[in-house]
Amino acid sequence: MQDVIIIGAGVIGTLIARNLSAYQTDVLVLEKNLDVGDGASGANSAIVHSGYDPIPGTKKAEYNVRGNAMFDQLSRELGVPFRRIGSLTLAFDEEGEQKLSELLNRAKQNGVPAEILFGYDAIKEKEPHVPKEVKAALYCPTAGIVDPFLLTARAMENALDNGAKLHLGEAVTAIKPIDGGYEVQTPKATYQTRYVINAAGAYADEIAKMMGLDKWKIIPKKGQYFVLDHFGPFVKTVLFPLPSQKGKGMLVTPTTAGNYLVGPSSSIEESKDDVSTDSLTLAQVKEGGAKLVDQLPLKEAIRVYAGLRSSIEGGDFVIEESKPGFLNLIGIDSPGLASSPYIGKLVAEMAESRLHLTKKKNWNPFVSRIKLANLSLEERAKLIKENPDYGEIICTCEKISLGEIRQELRTSLPCLTIKAMKKRTRCGFGKCQGGFCQARILEEIARANGKKLEEINYGFPDSFQLKEASK
């Protein structure tokens, strides 16, 4: 019998796995997709919110602030890009200023450092790209940005390095209680486990239902975005509008890779899988973003995307052991990413107290990687001497070498799809969107995994890139 099964390998499931891997216990993560982080954790705003926005006293408020504080150490240990760039919430009239002081109050109650800056000149000093009409802004220096793809992947890799297991492409279809635990079924196998952690994101309500718990209903809320190229200097802080009924509103932010995001919209959806974009909504996103900066260079857009928030009635996170040994995480929408380090720790501790686990002595919290962009020219030259693969540039937009690609194919975390490689290395994330490098990447993935080219998927199951050999 397995000790723990975690259902879902988003940022939540993988960070729980990482925390549990510090204990002497067998952890198995089951993920229906072909890679970790292909759900909400791979399509969000990538903001490590400071925590001024959630209502004081809620789990969201507490976990956000605690999670935020953990990012410096976590990102260092896992080698994940993270920058505390601060956020500005902009107000353009007196009513807005009023609202800002309410937010400042909330920030104080939540324990978030914050101050209100008055007047364009004061705000411009923090962010030169704000519009002249801005009257006041709530400045929160602890807000940050993170690479959510790498956070999820490195958390999983670190867990795997410390003995956890991961089965990709296995969707949980049924769960039933058995003596001393649960039986978890997928189309490929049946597992017995003492403890189940439901971190299935948008499907968490359905997993709960498998155990007869039907009090939650996830209402998927779609958010659509533009990605702008790293065309040059632009905003350097996270810019928010005033929050409204619908949420935090459309923001403009840099990413850790030097790109910029504009979005998200917010609309309630029927489907938990439909991440399509539409022109009408994107036009609204454009309008929303344009209000926060003096000029929005949308001609630099290189991609659009959408993610689905797993919202529930009531609005706060649900994290509870609903039945002995059956722990549910439901409604983990924003600020789920910012809260994830704390949630990972908390849930691992909840499981630990039930299973009475002991800590490993030799747990290694680190993941290390060679990243050319972080090396000096001398170091880089030396590296190429040792391994010429680091001299051969494959991704011309992001300037990623063959060595960096092959490095990802040698780790404990499988890299099976073109999208997985994109998320690990940024190959294909740039302006050409893979036009120059995708064929090479496909070859490398196929070779490393002992597969034929036509067997490699773009991202999701059955998303082949090549249909068949030509005549």
């Binding site: 533009f226 990605v227 899988d273 439909d274 991440v275 399509s276 974009t277 539409d278 022109s279 994107l282 857009a301 290189i302 991609r303 659009v304 995307y305 020219l377 880089r380 030259a381 190429i384 001497k385 010429p388 693969d389 001299g391 051969e392 540039i393 011309t396 937009c397 300037k399 070498s401 302006k431 050409c432 969107q433 893979g434 036009g435 120059f436 995708q438 064929a439 080219l453 036509e454 998927n457 773009y458 991202g459 999701f460 199951p461 059955d462 998303s463 082949f464 890139q465 090549l466 249909k467 068949e468 050999a469 030509s470 005549k471």
Partner: protein
Amino acid sequence: MKKTVDILIIGGGAAGLGAALGAVEAGAKEILLVDRKNRLGGILTQCVHSGFGLKVFGEELTGPEFASRLARKLAETPVEVWLNAFVLSISPAKEALISSRDGLYQVSAKTIIYATGCLERTPGMIQLPGTRPSGVLTAGLAQLYLNEYGYLPGKKAFILGSGDIGLIMARRLSLEGAKVLGVAEIMPYSNGLVRNKVQCLDDFGIPLYLSHTVSRVYGNHHLEAIDLVKVDEEGKIIQGTEEHIECDLLLLSVGLLPNVGILKNAGARIGESKGAAVDGSLMTSLPGVFSAGNSLHVHDLADEAYLEGIEAGKAAVNCLKGVPEHRTMTPLSHNENIGYLVPSYYDESYLGDLLIKFRCRRPKEKCVIMVIADGEIIKTINKISMLPSEMEIIRIPKKLLKNNLKTIEVILEDRL
């Protein structure tokens, strides 16, 4: 590792090869040509169809044939060629940082010719609505998969955009046994060369839907279908005209963009063509740095990219004697019937003729092109018809251009 050369050529496609040969012809000795790929020819190596070389060799060749002829010519010269070598950056002082399997090189050059080709506009850039499944590819990537890897990316294809690569892929896919359901073009006219429309669509019975676009992509994992819709004169979707088409491959041929990243990072000014802003000698705003081929502006014919490369090669040699101290940058402008124009400036210190290249914005019949320098018409050309897909080249002999010109204007008008 450090190295010094007279001329560094970045890119070994038609333009880069032309630049090398042009520079040799003009007497340069120390030339280094660098390409990131493992062979010369650039995009030509994946263009297995014929239609290359008519202007340069007077015969119809395939892309690889055209490329290997040029590469053979180059092999007879002292030009040093580095393959699998990628230029990471250049500086205004003409220092280049180059990464290859042999190491990291700092190359210091007296002049640089930038000929890095173009990139394709992607689904993201045009904000293609709907889902983002696999099976939606740029036409050039599909061409690479088919011609260099031997794989069909799908069997039931639709093509968005009537650019030449899309048209050529329509034929290629048909020959490979895939069904091509149609080509949609948002403009009321085709954006490809006339010969490509005839030979690649008409001959295969593939419908061309003018004033149409794709309004939605379906399929969460792999492409399942698209909606084809009509658009009005302003390019806006006409509601109610949607036609649902099932397919497993959507190719995009919606335009090419000069690949200017490295040049832009070095601080070069960008022109209307979205390539570098150059003067009549193809020198960019960075003295001693030239640009040619698709990285300067998108060419429809490889022959023209090659010939432009030769011009740049010669101009670079001319510049070895010394970068002009004072550049008279007379701006070139045009009226609204012209889409873009190269060069952006005229520098009178350059002794060659002035070659003006441009595209009309919309198809035109019976029209006249006039070149006006400081209010005086210096050249008039009558045309029976013009298409945006066909680049126009006008040569203005040096002797027609006075010194100290304030303006040069190119006007395209209907002929009454």
